[in-house]
Symmetry: C2
DNA sequence: CCGGATCCATAAGGATACTG
DNA sequence: CAGTATCCTTATGGATCCGG
């Protein structure tokens, strides 16, 4: 572990300067982390994810699932039935992210408490 | 720790649905995580951060540092001297993020190795 | 059911010039 | 040194309609 330097790592047809950026990119944006968050609890279908994340549009969901698939973080399994059935689950690399997601969740909880305590102290 | 649900958390004049989203937002985008990454090694001046992150513009650096300051993740200390001297460092909440950043870094390193091994297997 | 395609509004980010 | 201000380009995300 060292300081991020210009080492020009090439992954997923992208060039990064450090391993940290690579990880951030996988979680980046409004949706990808949230999708992974739900997949930690097991395989999910498209419609289930839409129910779990009501504010996401079908377009965004598909788009982000494709990105995660291309990045090797989620599996996409298509069952050749009518009507179509598609399932999403975490790959091995995806599973390895879960403990970190949980740490982020806990940090978030702590952060919320601290911030709200500060806000209260300010208005008092 | 439970599934993210619609709980409407209000922090930093934003409404979130779960603690996980709050944490993601602090690291979100191309730059904020990287800035925090460098601040883990100690207090840094504006010009030092620009040297460490050559591809960032002054505008983006200022903007992201302000966001992190407003979010209570970094301190900004202004010394009333000529020429101006401004130092940035992590707050207590910021420090708590460092172990998670390191985990992300390590996951990124692992991920890069795995992906490059797969690419090699594909072309072979 | 699980999407793809298209169009459009807004936000994010870069280039450049200027300032206490 | 550490920023602001302005302009501009690009990326992101939403709405809507269509299809196997």
């Amino acid at each position: 572990m060292s300081v991020c330097e210009s080492c020009g790592i090439r992954v997923n047809n992208q060039v990064y300067n450090c391993a940290f950026q690579v990880a951030i990119d996988v979680l980046d944006g409004k949706w990808k982390g949230l999708i992974l968050w739900y997949l930690q609890f097991g395989t999910k279908r498209n419609s289930e994810l839409r129910r779990l994340i009501p504010s996401i549009t079908q377009k965004m969901l598909t788009q982000k699932l494709r990105e995660l698939e291309d990045e090797g973080i989620v599996y996409r399994t298509v069952y050749p039935v009518v009507p179509p059935k598609v399932e999403y689950s975490l790959t091995e690399q995806g599973e390895k992210l879960i403990p970190i997601l949980k740490s982020l969740y806990e940090w978030g909880e702590d952060y919320i408490v601290e911030r709200q305590a500060e806000d209260k102290a300010q208005t008092a």
